[in-house]
Amino acid sequence: MGKDNNSNTHEVTLVEAVNLALRRALSDDPDVVLLGEDIGTNGGVFRATEGLKQDFGYKRVIDTPLAESMIAGLSVGMATQGMKPVAEIQFMGFIFAAFEQIVCHAARMRNRTRGRLHCPLVIRAPFGGGIQAPEHHSESTEALFAHIPGLRVVIPSSPTRAYGLLLSAIQCPDPVLFLEPKRIYRMVRQRLVDSGKGLPLDTCFTLRQGKDVTLVSWGAAMHETLQAAERLARDGIECEVIDVATISPLDFNTIKRSVQHTGRCIIVQEAPRNGGVASEISARLAETCLMHLRAPVQRVTGYDATMPYPRQEHLYMPATDDIIAAARTTLEGL
């Protein structure tokens, strides 16, 4: 993690930005506590919590026993009693044991008690494929959580957004699932001011403006999406590129305005096709933009298949070429 002399500015990767945000939250708010498997001495298997136990002590950065349901249950209990737990699930593929606590309790505490209690917890989990990891280490199941009322699901796609969104997630009075696209954990460095300032959790980020077609994505697939936009630009095709970032509750207005403008939309998602977040966005566009659409909204997605083991993983992943092909079809469409 590069740091400029005498300043609070860093050149950081996404995972380092996560680390900075956690460090900042631990410093600023005594109620913030991190918990999870291997987050202490080891600093997390991806080093997201590196150095934090050393600096804040084992009571603020807690290595838990190996039990995801317990990690989530502890977090719910802590959150109801005035703490701000930030739990790590080591890989999103292991979050399912915690599903009941998240869905039945974290997401409902406020509604169930009509606001008497609330549940300001954050659950962080690295997710997505592309790192040739063993089974269960590469899934993208964000859609399962996006369907749950009461939960916020936030996915950064750059170091600065990781920093800002994570700080906001920790400050947020609602439970937040914060999914970190591990494929781009170390892909790029960005200049980041450790200002303690959050980014809004209720808005998409328009990363590129264009008039021909709207490309919508989130997480690691933003990388291929931006690449596709870049390459299409060489052929004079101007893509508007939207990073959804908070996939639930969804800032649909930004997407709608863009599509009403461009008349064309491609939604890119790494998750399996059937029932993904892309489907929701497409359905809303169908309801609200039918008159503006100049071609069918297309989804570029993973297959309706379990994430393959490493040898065949690349076959599964949506690629830049797929996005470009879809965009071209869309543009020829009408």
Partner: protein, 364 residues
């Protein structure tokens, strides 16, 4: 290598005392009561249990006449709830399950709120008194237990001089959450008291079909913590065990598991018909051990209770219940858009739009 040979492997052993009891089913005490227990305390316990039994009866009656939704009676288990509640202090935190109306009442929850909850109204969870910070009742079995451990982490970490009490049924002990919570509590020496309301049934499944262990208390061994079996129909034994566990917890000496042996004299809930799966004789036997009568006998035998007191108590209880029911029945319907307003701290754009639809359909 497959011919059985007698193994020379030595076996481990678990040895436990019989269940703790002070006042036997007959109403006799077999040993001195704990020092803190005096006549006043016992009369209070008796009054609380009687009130809860009356509330319970009323709630079932309301359900039969369509004024209450599905209700889980705690008939016969009053000593578990009252003994627990009487040992708790305001600084403690309570993490209940659905059959814990007795303790919630002692925590300060209004009788009306209890009725309201089972009347199908989330606002019953607004709670009152010390319960303002207690968790809501928990329906998914055993899931409250790790939350209770989390609450205990919070108390410990914030240096609050209280402990967390949580409870669950015998059926709940079969879920992994039960073990995960005890394990972490033992590991971190959390200020946590877990009370099992072993009422012998999980809906239609008897206790002996939940686990092959002779006791539920011994499950504490898996977490390296103390496990105590008590007669859950003896309010003194329940109090003594919970009080012991709470003092231990509050002074940083770690968690305790308490198995309170009692019996579910009623149906599982008003939606259940227990005659389908258990015998009338089992139930009438169990009535011989119920908690209120035995305490009454003890008090009578010690000249601490009489017919006059009994009569005036019943008058008071009747009044209290009638007032609660009247208050309950007078509750105004919640605003229609309450179903959307508490999903998040703030309304989202989608919810704002849906509120418009909702109000169009169902009025303001």
């Amino acid at each position: 290598m497959s011919t059985p040979v007698p193994s020379s492997i030595e076996k481990p052993r678990y040895v436990a005392p019989p269940p703790l009891v002070y006042i036997e089913p007959s109403g006799k005490s077999n040993r001195d009561l704990p020092a803190q227990i005096d006549f006043d305390w016992l009369r209070q316990a008796y009054q609380h249990m009687s009130l809860i039994r009356a509330l319970d009866k009323k709630a079932v009656a309301l359900q039969r006449t369509g004024q209450m939704r599905t209700y889980p009676s705690c008939l016969g288990q009053e000593a578990v709830g009252i003994g627990t509640g009487m040992a708790m202090m305001d600084a403690d935190v309570y993490v209940p399950y659905y059959r814990d109306q007795a303790t919630l009442y002692l925590r300060g929850v209004q009788l009306k709120q209890i009725l309201q909850l089972w009347g199908g109204d989330e606002r019953g969870h607004l709670f009152d008194g010390a319960a303002k910070k207690d968790l809501p009742i928990c329906v998914p079995i055993a899931t409250q237990l790790t939350q209770a451990a989390g609450a205990a982490v919070a108390l410990k970490s914030k240096g609050v001089k209280g402990a967390v009490v949580t409870s669950c049924g015998d059926g709940a002990t079969s879920r992994g959450d039960f073990y995960e919570a005890l394990n972490v509590a033992g590991l971190w020496q959390l200020p946590l008291v877990t009370v099992i309301n072993n009422n012998q049934w999980a809906i239609s499944v008897p206790r002996q079909m939940q686990s092959g262990t002779p006791t539920l208390a011994q499950k504490a061994v898996a977490a390296g913590i103390e496990g105590i079996q008590v007669d859950g129909n003896d309010v003194v034994a329940v109090f003594d065990a919970v009080n012991h566990a709470l003092q231990k917890a509050r002074s940083g000496k770690g968690p305790t598991l308490i198995e309170a042996i009692t019996y579910r004299l009623g149906d599982h809930t008003t939606a259940d018909d227990a005659t389908r799966y258990r015998s009338a004789s089992e139930v009438s036997d169990a009535w011989q051990r119920e908690p209120i009568k035995r305490l009454q006998t003890w008090l009578h035998d010690h000249d601490a209770w009489d017919a006059t007191r009994e009569q005036s108590l019943h008058g008071e209880i009747k009044q209290q219940i009638e007032r609660a029911v009247a208050d309950y029945l007078a509750i105004e319907p919640a605003p229609v858009d309450d179903i959307l307003r508490y999903q998040y701290a703030d309304m989202t754009p989608a919810l704002e739009q849906q509120r418009t639809w909702l109000l169009q359909r169902h009025g303001g």
